[in-house]
């Protein structure tokens, strides 16, 4: 490892740690700025109608103690960090005394299993489309470009709704909601896996659609830039076949798209979370949706924290991978 490389990684790791800390702090502080006391509403929900003022006070103190809200702000922060690191994320407000990890434990894996492959497939397809668009410019620019611009303007949730209505409700090709048939018990058998796969299709393809648009536009302009690069002309004049040159161009255009993915992964995940709620897919988006509707702040902030950390890790890894596979960055960053 050269000195430049080490410096590059140090810088990347430094930023990773800093943003990580900032994310944790923001996740802690923002829900605590909210007006209204969550404990009051829980007590209001749970207490019997005939309770005296004293009993109510007692309950409030009890719950405050349970949630650790009677401690100082630093004590609360320490609890928060501790809970985040041991993976429990504290106690849910709305489903007290369930642990937050209990509520969202399985949904993380549904989200990862849904979004990771979908975003990768969307990225690949988007790049392919952008490359083809850049290469076959004539008809594309005049005819197809406005059309594709219009389709890329359809918001993510809109595309999901249309897919849902067309393929699930009208045509009946796919199930309307959930991740598997409601009557089934999750297990490792063919029937269950089949059900999971058929429920997977629509959410998967709608997230693919979400990711395609932006990537295709980026890849198109990147490819056009590369197609005009000096090495294209030079390679042509040395007699290298166009097919080979096109391969050069697309490789060169695609490599920076790795960083493009690292930068846009955050916004893609946002759209994907909304898509989850449309298909009632039991991932983090759905957990968050349920938590929002029951004002369950520990669950909301656990969800946002997990999402932020996943996005952070994804973009950190992409940055590192990119630095290794693209010699241009290697040259620019490592010395």
């Amino acid at each position: 490892m050269t000195k430049g490389m080490r410096k590059y990684f140090k810088k990347k790791i430094f930023w990773f740690v800093i943003t990580f800390i900032a994310a944790v702090i923001l996740n802690f502080i923002l829900p605590r700025l909210m007006p209204g006391d969550p404990v009051n509403s829980i007590v209001g929900k749970n207490i019997s109608p005939g309770a005296t003022q004293e009993q109510v006070q007692e309950q409030i103190i009890y719950y405050k103690h349970q949630f650790g809200l009677d401690k100082s702000i630093f004590g609360q922060f320490w609890d928060f960090v501790k809970n985040a690191f041991n993976g429990t994320f504290g106690v849910s407000y709305s489903q007290y005394p369930r642990l937050v990890s209990d509520i969202i434990g399985s949904s993380i894996w549904w989200t990862v299993a849904l979004q990771l492959p979908a975003i990768i497939v969307g990225w690949l397809l988007g790049n392919l489309l952008g490359a083809v668009a850049a290469y076959k410019r004539g008809i594309w620019d005049k005819g197809l470009m406005p059309v594709s611009l219009f389709f890329s303007a359809i918001p993510a949730f809109g595309a999901s709704v249309i897919l849902l209505v067309v393929f699930a409700v009208t045509l009946g090709w796919a199930p309307v909601n959930g991740a598997y048939d409601p009557g089934m018990i999750p297990g490792f058998n063919l029937k269950f896996i089949g059900s999971v796969i058929s429920h997977y299709q629509l959410p998967f393809w709608s997230i693919v659609l979400i990711s395609i648009g932006g990537q295709a536009v980026g890849m198109r302009s990147m490819s056009i830039y590369e197609l005009n690069a000096d090495y294209v002309k030079y390679s042509r004049f040395l007699g290298i076949k166009d097919k080979k040159i096109v391969r050069y161009v697309f490789r060169n255009a695609m490599l920076p798209q790795v960083t493009g993915l690292a930068m846009s992964i955050g916004s893609m995940v946002g759209g994907a979370l909304v898509a989850e709620t449309i298909f009632s897919y039991p991932g983090l988006g759905m957990s968050m949706y349920a938590a929002i509707n029951s004002s369950d702040y520990p669950v909301i902030s656990a969800c946002t924290l997990i999402i932020t950390i996943m996005v952070l890790i994804a973009s950190f890894l992409l940055d590192i991978i990119y630095a290794f596979i693209d010699p241009r960055v290697k040259a620019a960053q490592f010395d």
């Binding site: 918001p155 249309i162 995940v269 702040y297």
Partner: protein
């Protein structure tokens, strides 16, 4: 300046985008003068499909006319016994082994089908013998209901209820009687039907479009102004100011803005999320990209000759920034603004879909409409396309027109990208 504007409007992409956007904007502005209904007023119960609704009661007071409509009988038949039902009849007859030769679902042969049905359908028999395909209770009930409909008088007299619930026949209605819609005292045209609350979807949509545009505009202005300010400061002043600002910007680029919005919005609570608050928050969480781009452009401008000359001439910082730097980055700022408006509208819609929209009791927004459509099963159980599809279309058209304007401007301002 005039020349630039001329160039901009010569770009076909910009022009098309501009026309679409202005059409939407003008509709939003002019529509309330024609339809003065409160957009949140409930007109009916649940989803009404698009169409013109006339008061059945009031048709009694409208004159009746005889209209000779050749296909009237066919239409009537289709309305009362649709092809689907005829198919069910046919299926049932086939299943119980009756002779179905020569029978089909066409209008011409309907009477033969009806005769065959009357001859063969027996409720008790259907209950006793579970014919193939009609074995479940639900299926048998469906047959019973169909039979009731078929045997009741097709040309029923129209009646109104008088006084204490007595039914009194006021007029008999012949099959060739028609009323003129404009003569019916109470009628309402609902081109896009109503939503789950029974609100006129079109009026609501127009209002919501206006509000969403406003949200986009406020969010876009704040994001652009903040971004511009931060970018100018960081880029031009440099040094420690730059370091601090870029440190903050770096953090905000990695933490997804959407997650941040979810946190802030849920912390605010539904009651305190007014339209303006929502827009302002979207604005202050999305300035980062603008700030970064402005900063890098300002840095490249900072040491240009004309700026140095201005510095040597002793011009104030304000003057240097406004006369020597701003004009050079203005085209970028305008384009960034357009994109920010578009993403502000989208952000609001996405948040509303998660149940984090602006206070739903005040005003409709495009996102809230989508959320209501979802909550009340417009695209699953109710199949009310009019409650969500126009909303998606409007959002798509707004961002399409803004994107078009943006690429149009890009082509004008960055001619190298034209290829």
């Amino acid at each position: 300046m005039k020349h630039t504007l001329k160039n901009v409007f010569h770009s076909p992409r910009f022009l098309v985008g501009f026309i679409i956007f202005m059409t939407i904007l003008l509709t939003v502005l002019i529509y309330p003068y024609f339809v003065q209904r409160d957009p949140l007023q409930g007109l009916g119960k649940g989803f009404l499909s698009p169409g013109t609704y006339v008061s059945v009661y009031d048709t009694n007071n409208a004159g009746t006319y005889r209209v000779e409509l050749p296909e009237a009988n066919d239409n009537r038949l289709e309305a009362s016994v649709p092809v689907k039902d005829r198919q069910t009849m046919l299926d049932y007859l086939t299943a119980m082994g009756a002779d179905v030769s020569g029978l089909d679902t066409s209008n011409e042969n309907f009477h033969a089908l009806l005769e065959a049905w009357n001859a063969n359908y027996d409720e008790a028999d259907a209950k006793k013998n579970k014919y193939d395909g009609f074995a479940t209770q639900a299926k048998r009930n469906e047959l019973r209901r169909l039979n009731n409909r078929l045997t009741s008088d097709v040309t029923a007299a129209m009646s109104v209820t008088k006084g204490e619930g007595e039914a009194a026949t006021v007029a008999s209605v012949a099959t060739s009687d028609y009323v003129k819609v404009s003569e019916v005292a109470n009628s309402i045209s609902l081109p896009l039907g109503t939503d789950n609350f029974g609100r006129d979807t079109l009026t609501e949509l127009v209002k919501a479009t206006g509000i969403s545009l406003l949200v986009g505009l406020i969010a876009g202005s704040i994001a652009t102004l903040l971004g511009l300010l931060v970018g100018l400061l960081a880029g031009y002043v440099g040094g420690i100011v730059d370091d601090i600002l870029m440190f903050i910007a770096n953090i905000f680029t990695v933490i997804p803005g959407f997650v941040l919005l979810i946190l802030i919005y849920s912390a605010l609570g539904a009651e305190s999320r007014g339209i303006t608050t929502c827009a302002v928050i979207i604005g202050i969480t999305s300035w980062v990209w603008t700030a970064r781009s402005v900063r890098s452009q300002v840095i490249s401008l900072r040491n240009r000759d004309h700026v140095n000359l201005s510095k040597l001439s002793g011009h104030s910082l304000f003057r240097i920034v406004t006369t020597d730097i701003l004009p050079y980055i203005m085209s970028y700022v305008v384009m960034a603004f357009i994109l920010q408006v578009s993403s502000g509208i989208l952000a609001e819609a996405q948040l509303s879909m998660l149940g984090l929209g602006p206070n739903p009791n005040e005003l409709p927004t495009l996102g809230l409409m989508m959320n209501w459509a979802k909550l009340f099963g417009a695209y699953t159980s109710s199949n009310a396309w009019w409650a969500y599809f126009p909303v998606i279309l409007v959002i798509a058209l707004i961002s399409f027109s803004l994107n078009l304007m943006n690429t149009g401007l890009d082509q004008v301002f960055n001619p190298t990208l034209r290829d």
